[in-house]
């Protein structure tokens, strides 16, 4: 193992270890969610974020508490990374009273006004105008916040995305569009669904700048995130970050992922895994020891086991909840 060239900066070291821990929490949480699904304790669709952890964790490291975020249905990682509790998320997955939507939303539909997390949306592309509207509100109020609007490579083809792009640039709205290009929209590869595969260029005809980022490298994401957020915050309007990433699992729990060779996922896992590689880097730089990482793993596992316990012992919602929260 090479010696660290410079003594690590302590404050920075803590921040780096925190990013490692946040990514690992998502990974272990998702593995457990997959298991609970297999046991029939989670129902419906369940879209795991395994492989993409660096995107949300890097962005959250760049964001400030003023900034909002909104995404689609592959949302468990976003919620954990913005500080929502593992217990509340897992209990929503099991449809229990202790869940963020008191069991009424499920995996795809969770929110936290407190953490400025605006969902959790099941309709592909629908969150893009919504995120643009949150940015509109920021500008209207003059509050300096930026809305981070996440969507997939598949969603990037929906018409409402381009309606939003146009207005966002026209009105110089403080929004960062983060395209999580994990190479597939369900079973359709980017090459088969997109006439222009470089998503960072999707804003060209609206004059929106875009940057391609290695979405498997949490530090690269953080750096690009800082740049984009400050661009949007300074009144220059929207900007696009294309995150090159990969989902290891099927689209949802019931997708056998037969449309790609097994070796493809195995190779990404081997060569670009965002967590393993970042862990190795931390050790090489002397920021963390093998033992530190083990301790983090133990801590994270404990959080996840507790969340599974909470999520399976929290009661189902009361039947009266069927008719609450419709209109007030």
């Amino acid at each position: 193992m090479p010696e660290p060239k410079t003594a690590p900066n302590i404050a920075n070291a803590e921040a780096l270890k925190k990013m490692y821990e946040d990514m690992l929490l998502i990974r272990r949480f998702e593995e457990r969610a997959g298991q609970l699904y297999g046991m029939g304790l989670i129902g419906g669709f369940c879209h795991l974020y395994i492989g993409q952890e660096a995107v949300i964790v890097g962005m959250q490291a760049a964001a400030t508490p003023k900034d909002q975020l909104i995404t689609a249905y592959r949302d468990h990682g976003h919620m954990l990374a913005c500080g929502m509790s593992a217990n509340g998320v897992m209990a929503e997955l099991t449809g229990r009273e202790g869940g963020y939507s008191r069991g009424k939303g499920g995996s795809m539909h969770m929110f936290s006004a407190d953490k400025k997390f605006y969902g959790g949306h099941g309709i592909v592309g629908a969150q893009v105008p919504l995120g643009t509207g949150l940015a509109f509100a920021n500008k209207y109020r003059g509050n300096d916040g930026v809305c981070m609007t996440y969507f997939g490579d598949g969603a990037a083809n929906q018409g409402q995305v381009y309606e939003s792009f146009n207005m966002a640039e026209l009105w110089k709205l403080p929004v960062v569009y983060i395209i999580e290009n994990n190479q597939y929209a369900m079973g359709t590869s980017v090459a088969r669904h997109s006439a222009l595969a470089d998503f960072s260029k999707r804003g060209v005809s609206f004059n929106i700048p875009g940057i391609q980022v290695d979405g498997m490298d949490v530090e690269a994401v953080e750096a690009a995130g800082k740049e984009a957020l400050s661009f949007a915050r300074s009144g220059k309007g929207p900007i696009i970050l294309e995150m090159k990433t990969y989902r290891y699992r099927g689209h949802s729990m019931s997708d056998p992922a037969k449309y790609r060779p097994k070796e493809e996922a195995a190779e990404v896992r081997e060569k670009r895994d965002p967590i393993d590689h970042f862990g190795q880097k931390l050790i090489q730089r002397g920021v963390a020891t093998e033992n530190d990482l083990k301790e983090i793993d133990t801590r994270v596992k404990q959080v996840v086991i507790e969340s599974a316990d909470f999520a399976t012992t929290s009661p189902e919602p009361a039947l009266a909840e069927l008719y609450t929260d419709i209109v007030i």
């Binding site: 419906g44 795809m108 539909h109 309709i123 592909v124 083809n157 369900m186 086991i305 039947l319 008719y323």
Partner: protein
């Protein structure tokens, strides 16, 4: 302490499956992510991964076993230093905590109904002695499309994942192989765009079948369906035609939440310029889909995911086409008329079995087509039974059942011995929680209660 590895549920509607193949053997060390086995569901073969680390103790279920129930133990997992004889003291960590009030976890509503004990009347339109072939609704729909595509080169299929993936719900299985990528076309996720492209192609005389992965996503395309497809014949003074079929699963599957569970029967049936079909039986799915593809109008074809895997008789005929707009008397009876369509017919059959055991004789009408509505068949029945209950799963406001009741009251008021009864989905967005979802859907008990109410029985 050895733990059990349980048979996983691998889709929203799976209750049992086949353990196709073990990829580990007794004694193997596994860790999170190790692939343990291949498991077949009704739709796919899935790999099943380990979450916990340990060593495989015993394989409890042999490879090739069919019908293994979800949550049945399939292997034991040993911790460090244990041998295979270690007593199994607990299930996998989270399994021990059963939900306080949960009954069966994540069971699909009324999934896997056995062939109903209620005698189903033969379709009078069939020649006597026609051979019947048990077929799933899924295959019946596929066959309908394949037959029409063989017959008419202007018919093509377009939608998300319909070609290479063979359909998100496997309805288009084999079509890409037979007809090629000119006629079986994968689209990007752009419903508004490809619905419009289909409609434009239909203006030029092609006969597109546009699949929506589910009808929930057709809301993106609603403007094209209503403003362009439904109204153009009228607006053009009859010059323009739009021979297109929009099809896909409608209504709630199992626990997919409010944005993925809506039933659109009332929306589309309210639109002049559309025909709307919502079959239950496989034969109707086939005969009516063929008719829809040949029809010169835009046709909305509402399927149901829960019904896809159900098996019914389909007549073996070279060209089995049914008339659009004709209801079918599924079973004759004297005390009450129950009018339904789509999955509601399955609910009705289950309820009727119990009602007849209590001495209430039920006539069941399957509307099959919602627009145009075959009200004559309903009125004739009500004149005989003097009571009517409608059964459906959409929201109550302005539902097809509401329309049936209104027309019955207008045309046969004097024949009614009780106000019409109505069973629908509850007037709420679909909740995710298992208990709330069950409560939100129309149930067999709801049907029984409504029938008893119109018969003044308790």
């Amino acid at each position: 302490m050895a733990t059990q590895i349980l048979m996983p549920a691998l889709s929203p509607t799976m209750e049992e499956g086949k353990l196709a193949r073990w990829l580990v053997k007794e004694g193997d060390v596994v860790k999170s992510g190790t692939i343990l086995a291949e498991i077949e569901t009704d739709k796919a073969t899935m790999e099943f991964e380990a979450v916990d680390e340990g060593r495989i103790g015993k394989l409890l279920v042999a490879a090739g076993s069919e019908g293994v129930k979800v949550n049945a133990p399939i292997a034991t997992l040993l911790a460090d230093g244990e041998d295979a004889s270690a007593a199994v003291t607990s299930a996998a960590p989270a399994a021990k905590a059963e939900a306080p009030k949960t009954e069966t976890p994540a069971a699909a509503p009324t999934a896997a109904v056995a062939a109903p004990a209620v005698e189903i009347a033969n379709d009078p339109s069939l020649p006597a002695g026609t051979e019947m072939v048990p077929t799933t609704v899924r295959i019946a729909l596929r066959d309908a499309m394949a037959e029409e595509m063989r017959r008419d080169p202007d018919v093509f299929l377009m939608g998300e994942e319909v070609a290479q993936y063979q359909g998100a719900y496997k309805i288009s299985q084999g079509l890409l192989e037979e007809f090629g990528d000119k006629r079986v076309i994968d689209t990007p996720i752009t419903e508004h765009g490809f619905a419009g492209i289909g409609i434009g192609a239909a203006f030029d005389g092609l006969k597109p079948i546009v699949e929506f992965m589910t009808w929930n996503f057709a809301m993106q395309a609603m403007d094209q369906i209503i403003n362009s497809a439904a109204k153009t014949r009228y607006m053009s003074g009859g010059q323009m035609s739009c021979p297109i079929v929009f099809r896909g699963p409608n209504g709630a599957a199992a626990r997919v939440g409010a944005q993925h569970s809506q039933d659109y029967a009332n929306w589309y049936s309210s639109v002049p310029g559309l025909k709307v079909i919502a079959p239950y039986f496989a034969a109707d799915a086939k005969g009516l889909l063929k008719a829809a593809i040949r029809d010169p109008n835009p046709v909305i074809f509402l399927e149901h995911e829960i019904v896809y895997g159900r098996t019914f008789d389909v007549p073996k005929m070279d060209d089995f086409v049914l008339p659009i707009g004709k209801a079918r008397v599924v079973k004759e009876g004297k005390d009450v008329t129950i009018v339904s369509y789509s999955l509601g017919v399955g609910l009705t059959l289950e309820a009727v079995e119990k009602l007849e055991a209590e001495g209430i004789s039920c006539e069941i009408i399957d509307l099959r087509t919602l627009r145009p509505l075959d009200i004559d068949t309903v009125i004739a029945s009500v004149k005989k039974t003097n009571r009517i209950v409608t059964v459906e799963n959409c929201w109550p406001f302005g539902s097809p059942g509401t329309e049936v009741a209104s027309q019955v009251v207008a045309q046969a008021f004097d024949y009614l011995d009780a106000p019409p009864g109505k069973v629908t989905g509850k007037d709420v967005p679909m909740p995710y929680a298992n208990n709330l979802e069950k409560a939100a859907l129309a149930s067999v008990d709801d049907v029984i209660a409504a029938v008893k109410a119109v018969c003044y029985r308790s």
